[in-house]
C-alpha cells in the first residue's frame, strides 16, 4: 500500500512538472504583443471605395428607430443609417446642411425657420414602398416624421426639445390632428413656427429625433420599425443579431455621389474594453474609444501609434447626484458637505489622470459658457465639509448608512470605493448598490428610489441647455424615466433656464446660464466632479477619421486604405519566428 502512495505522489509531481514545462514553453514562444500597429495602409491618397470597417461598443444595441433611440450605443448605428436635415461640422461644431439645402436663418421675429430640402434624395429600397423602390423625400415626410415623433403614443424621449413648436401642446393633448406650427409650403419647403423664439431649436433639429423617416415603414412594420430601419442614410441594415453584432451595407440610393466609401460596416456588440483593446492591437478591430486605465497608459507610451490616436475632453459632466426629495439629502448643508468632501485629485489619479476636474454643471469644454471664476464651485475642502456637516445638524456624521447606486463592473466599483472612503471622513457610511445599466436607468429615474447615485450626462448639442434643462429643470421630473435624478426643483432656476432658452442676446444668455450654474453649485443637488478625457485610436489604414466634436464615434465618412500590409514588427529574434508562422492566418478581407 505504501508503495502505491509513493508512486502516486511521484506521478503527481511529474504531472505538475509537465504542466509547468508546457506553460513555460508557451510563455517563451508566444510572440510579444506588438508595440505599434500591426497593419499599415496601402498608401493611397485619394478616397478608396470598398472594404469592411469594424467597430464596437461595450453593451447592447437597443433599437434603430431614431425617434425613440436615446443612448450612445444605438445612436452610433442610427447615424450610419439615417441622415438629418442639418448636422454639425466634425471639427468646428458649426451647423451644416445635410438633407436641407442650407441651415435656415430664423425669421425677423425669431420664430419661423424655413427648411428647403435637397432635391432627389431617395429613401433606401424596401418592400414597404410601392414596387420596392425607395421614393423621393419630400417636405411632407418632414412634417409626418415630426408629428409621429411628437405623438403621445410614440413615447419619444425627444419631445422636450420641441416643446416650443407652435401647437405641440394641443397635438399632444389629442385636441388637434396636426401640429399647427409645421406648414408644408411646397414639395421641398417646410416652415417650422415656434410659439416663442428658442435658441436651441436648430440644435434640436440636428438631433436624431428630427431625422426624417418613412411613414410606409411605420405602416408596415409598426413597433418593429426599430428592427427594420428604412432610411435616407449612407448605409442600410444587412443583419442584426441582438447582443452579438449588427452589419450594414452601402446604400446605393445615397444622395452623395460615390459615398459612403466602405462596402460594409460591422458593429460588434457587448465587447468589453479589455478584449476590445486586444483585438484592436491585433488588427481585428478598426477603432477603439475606451480603455482601462492600465491599457490607456500602455497605449499612450507607444510612439508608433501616435499619429493614429487623439485625446480630447468629452463634453460631459459626472458627479455624485443626491436625491433632494429624500432623507437625508433634502438637507442642503448635507449635500454641500458631500460636495466638498470628495477628494477630486485622488479620483483623478485613480483613473490614470483621465478626469478633467470641475466643480460646476457647465463642462469646461463649452468654453463660451464655462465660468472659471464661478463663486463657490465645488472642490475638495475637508474643513469646509465638516463645517457644513455641523450646519446640517450632523456634526458627528449620519447614523444611518447611505446607499449609492452605480453601474456594474470594476469601474463602478472603483468609484464606489472612492465615495465610501471620502465620505467616511465626514462620518457618512456608504453602501454600494451595483446594478446592470438598464436597471440603473430605470430605478434611479423614479422619485423616492435612490438616495444617491454616481451619474453623468453627455451633451445632445453644444449648449448649456443640453445639461441644465435636462438635469435640473423641474420639467425633467417624471414618475418614471426622469433625467433630473436629483429631483431638484427650484422655481428660480426654472425661471432662469426658461428665460435663457429664448434669450437671443448671446452675452445675456451666458450671464443667465452662469447665474443658474452659481445657484446649482450653491444648492449642490450634485457634487460636480469631472468630465471625461477620452482617447480614441484607429488603424493606420482607416482614413478620414477624426473624433467628431459633437457626436461620439461617428464613422460615416471613413474610407479604408486597402489592401493593408502587415507592418514589419520590431525584430525580436526567436519570438518573431513564431509570429511569422502565424502570419498567413492573420489576414482579413
Amino acid at each position: 500500500m505504501r508503495s502505491t502512495r509513493r508512486s502516486e505522489a511521484w506521478a503527481g509531481m511529474a504531472a505538475l512538472g509537465l504542466f509547468a514545462a508546457v506553460a513555460a514553453l508557451f510563455a517563451v514562444f508566444l510572440p510579444d504583443a506588438p508595440d505599434g500597429p500591426r497593419y499599415q495602409g496601402a498608401g493611397h491618397e485619394t478616397p478608396q471605395r470598398g472594404g469592411t470597417f469594424v467597430f464596437h461598443h461595450e453593451s447592447d444595441l437597443r433599437g434603430l428607430d431614431p425617434q425613440v433611440a436615446y443612448d450612445e450605443i444605438s445612436n452610433m448605428a442610427v447615424k450610419l443609417l439615417y441622415e438629418g436635415l442639418i448636422d454639425y461640422d466634425r471639427d468646428t461644431m458649426e451647423l451644416i446642411p445635410r438633407l436641407a439645402e442650407a441651415v435656415p436663418e430664423p425669421s425677423a421675429d425669431g420664430r419661423t425657420y424655413r427648411f428647403r430640402l435637397r432635391r432627389g434624395v431617395r429613401f433606401q429600397d424596401d418592400p414597404c414602398f410601392e414596387g420596392g423602390r425607395g421614393r423621393e423625400l419630400t417636405a411632407h415626410d418632414v412634417r409626418w416624421s415630426l408629428e409621429h415623433m411628437l405623438h403621445p403614443d410614440t413615447g419619444s424621449p425627444g419631445v422636450t426639445f420641441f416643446e416650443l413648436l407652435e401647437g405641440v401642446e394641443a397635438f399632444r393633448a389629442r385636441e388637434a390632428s396636426h401640429i399647427s406650427g409645421i406648414r408644408v409650403i411646397d414639395r421641398y419647403t417646410v416652415d417650422l413656427r415656434l410659439s416663442r423664439p428658442d435658441q436651441t431649436f436648430l440644435y434640436a433639429m440636428a438631433m436624431t429625433f428630427a431625422y426624417p423617416v418613412a411613414r410606409e415603414a411605420y405602416a408596415r412594420y409598426g413597433d418593429e420599425t426599430r428592427r427594420h430601419p428604412v432610411s435616407t442614410g449612407a448605409f442600410v441594415l444587412e443583419s442584426w443579431e441582438p447582443g452579438v453584432e449588427a452589419t450594414f451595407l452601402r446604400n446605393p440610393n445615397y444622395f452623395e455621389e460615390g459615398r459612403p466609401y466602405p462596402d460594409r460596416m460591422v458593429y460588434t456588440l457587448n465587447l468589453r474594453r479589455i478584449p476590445a483593446t486586444m483585438r484592436f492591437r491585433n488588427g481585428d478591430l478598426d477603432h477603439i474609444h475606451r480603455q482601462t486605465p492600465a491599457d490607456y497608459l500602455t497605449l499612450r507610451e507607444m510612439e508608433a501609434w501616435a499619429p493614429y490616436r487623439e485625446e480630447r475632453p468629452k463634453i460631459n459632466i459626472w458627479g455624485v447626484e443626491m436625491n433632494t426629495q429624500m432623507a437625508p439629502f433634502e438637507n442642503r448643508h448635507l449635500r454641500r458637505a458631500v460636495a466638498f468632501a470628495i477628494n477630486r485629485e485622488r479620483w483623478r489619479r485613480a483613473r490614470a489622470n483621465r478626469l478633467v476636474l470641475q466643480g460646476q454643471p457647465i463642462p469646461r469644454a463649452l468654453e463660451r459658457f464655462y465660468d472659471p471664476d464661478l463663486p463657490g464651485q465645488h472642490e475638495y475642502d475637508l474643513e469646509r465639509a465638516r463645517e457644513e456637516m455641523r450646519l446640517a445638524g450632523h456634526p458627528d456624521g449620519l447614523d444611518e448608512p447611505v446607499e449609492v447606486w452605480l453601474g456594474e463592473g470594476e469601474t463602478g466599483r472603483a468609484y464606489g470605493e472612492l465615495i465610501q472612503s471620502d465620505l467616511a471622513e465626514i462620518g457618512i457610511t456608504v453602501t454600494l448598490r451595483q446594478v446592470a445599466f438598464p436597471i440603473y436607468l430605470q430605478e434611479t429615474g423614479k422619485p423616492g428610489q435612490a438616495q444617491m447615485l454616481l451619474g453623468g450626462w453627455s451633451m445632445d448639442f453644444p449648449d448649456p441647455a443640453s445639461f441644465l434643462d435636462i438635469l435640473f429643470h423641474s420639467r425633467s421630473i417624471h414618475p418614471e424615466g426622469s433625467h433630473n435624478r436629483s429631483f431638484y426643483s427650484n422655481p428660480e432656476v426654472d425661471r432662469i433656464l426658461d428665460e435663457a432658452r429664448v434669450e437671443s442676446d448671446h452675452e445675456r444668455r451666458v450671464a443667465l446660464y452662469r447665474e443658474a450654474s452659481r445657484i446649482l453649485v450653491d444648492d449642490a443637488p450634485w457634487a460636480f466632479i469631472w468630465s471625461d478625457m477620452a482617447m480614441e485610436m484607429w488603424q493606420p489604414y482607416v482614413r478620414n477619421y477624426r473624433p467628431h466634436k459633437v457626436w461620439d464615434n461617428f464613422y460615416r465618412d471613413v474610407w479604408l486604405d486597402l489592401p493593408r500590409r502587415r507592418a514589419s514588427l520590431s525584430p525580436a529574434g526567436r519570438l518573431s519566428r513564431f509570429a511569422a508562422v502565424l502570419t498567413p492566418f492573420g489576414g482579413r478581407r
Binding site: 479589455i274 492600465a294 500602455t298 485622488r346 483613473r351 470594476e410 470605493e417
Partner: protein
C-alpha cells in the same frame, strides 16, 4: 482534557471569525479576535497535552498513526494551519487599515506603487495596502467557507443520517430533495439568489452556499448509515430495546462520522473556490471589504503593470485549496483504511 481543549479551541476560532460578520465589541474591534486567538492557543495546548498523556484517545489510534505517516496529509495540515493562522491572526498583524485609500498608493500616472517601506507588498488599484487586504481578505474567504460548510455539514449529515436510518417515506422525500438540489446549476443559482436578495451580507452568502452544497454529504452519510444500521451490534441494541436516538448517537454516528469529516474538509476547499469566483464576479462580499476573490478582480485591470496584484491572492487561494484537499485525502486514508 482533550474534549475540553477541542471545545475551547473551537470557541476561540468562532470568536476570531465573528468580526468578519461585523459582530464585535463596540469600540475595540480587535478585542474579540484577540481573545479568540488566546482561547484558540489555550485550547490547542490543552488538546495537545491531552493527546500526549493519552495518545490512543482520538478515536482509533491506528488512524492517527496512519495519518502521521502520510506525508501528503501532513503537508496539507501544515498548509491549512499556516493559511488559517495568517487569516485568523493576520488582521492583528496587518500594518495598515485594509480599506483606507492612501494618496501615496498611486504614483503620478495613477499606477499602483510597488513594494516599499510603507506598503510591504505594494498598493492595490486604488491605493490601498495590499498586504493588509490579503490578511483581512483571508479571514473573509475562510469565514465564508467555514460558515457554509458548517451549515452544509449539519444539514447534510442530519438528512443522510435520518433518511438512512429510518428509511420509508422520509428517505424517499429526502432522496428526491437531494436529486432536485443536485439538478440545480450551483453557481448560477447562487448568483441569481444573491442578486435577488436585498443587501446580501456574509451571512446570506454562507447560508446560500451551505443550502446548495449539502447533498453529496447527505448521500454519503445515508449510504454509510444504511450499512451501519444492519450491523450486528446495532441489531442487538435494537433487540435490547434501546431508543432510536440512543442507537443513532451511540452506535451509528461513530461509524458514519469519518467519511463526513473527510467530505467536509474537501467541501471547504470547494467553498473557497466558489466564494472567490463569486467575489470575482462582484457578487460575493460587498465593497470595500476585501476577500481573495475580489482582490483578483480588482487587480485584473493592472495585470500588465503589477502582476503581483493577482499573484498573491491567487497563490493563497491555491495554497488553501491544495492544503484542504491534501488534508481531506489524508483523513480519508487514515479513517477508512479499506482501499
Amino acid at each position: 482534557m482533550r474534549r475540553i481543549g477541542l471545545g475551547v479551541a473551537l470557541l476561540g476560532l468562532a470568536a476570531m471569525v465573528l468580526p468578519a460578520f461585523e459582530v464585535g465589541l463596540a469600540g475595540s474591534p480587535n478585542a474579540l479576535p484577540a481573545a479568540g486567538a488566546a482561547l484558540f492557543v489555550l485550547g490547542a495546548a490543552l488538546f495537545g497535552l491531552g493527546l500526549a498523556r493519552d495518545p490512543a484517545g482520538i478515536g482509533d489510534p491506528r488512524a492517527w498513526r496512519r495519518f502521521r505517516k502520510n506525508r501528503g496529509a501532513l503537508a496539507g495540515a501544515v498548509l491549512v494551519l499556516f493559511v488559517g493562522f495568517t487569516a485568523f491572526v493576520g488582521p492583528l498583524l496587518a500594518p495598515l487599515d485594509p480599506n483606507e485609500i492612501f494618496d501615496a498608493g498611486l504614483n503620478g500616472a495613477g499606477v499602483p506603487v510597488g513594494p516599499s517601506g510603507q506598503f510591504l507588498l505594494g498598493a492595490d488599484n486604488i491605493g490601498r495596502d495590499q498586504l493588509s487586504r490579503l490578511l483581512y481578505g483571508g479571514r473573509v474567504s475562510l469565514a465564508v467557507a467555514f460558515g457554509a460548510v458548517a451549515i452544509a455539514g449539519t444539514l447534510g449529515f442530519c438528512a443522510g443520517l435520518f433518511s438512512g436510518y429510518f428509511r420509508g417515506v422520509l428517505d424517499g422525500a429526502i432522496i428526491q430533495l437531494i436529486n432536485f438540489v443536485l439538478s440545480l446549476p450551483f453557481l448560477l443559482v447562487a448568483i441569481a439568489l444573491n442578486r435577488v436578495i436585498e443587501n446580501p451580507s456574509l451571512w446570506t452568502l454562507c447560508v446560500l452556499l451551505g443550502a446548495l452544497s449539502w447533498t453529496r454529504l447527505a448521500r454519503v452519510t445515508r449510504a454509510k448509515t444504511l450499512q451501519a444500521r444492519e450491523l450486528e451490534y446495532v441489531q442487538a441494541a435494537r433487540a435490547l430495546g434501546m431508543g432510536h436516538m440512543r442507537i443513532l448517537f451511540r452506535h451509528v454516528v461513530p461509524n458514519v462520522l469519518g467519511p463526513a469529516i473527510v467530505l467536509g474538509t474537501t467541501l471547504i476547499a470547494a467553498m473557497i473556490i466558489i466564494e472567490s469566483a463569486m467575489s470575482f464576479l462582484g457578487l460575493g462580499v460587498k465593497p470595500p471589504t476585501a476577500s481573495w476573490g475580489s482582490m483578483l478582480r480588482d487587480g485584473q485591470e493592472y495585470m500588465v503593470y503589477a502582476p503581483r496584484l493577482l499573484l498573491w491572492p491567487a497563490l493563497l487561494i491555491v495554497a488553501t485549496v491544495f492544503g484542504f484537499n491534501l488534508l481531506g485525502e489524508g483523513l480519508r486514508d487514515a479513517l477508512d483504511p479499506k482501499e
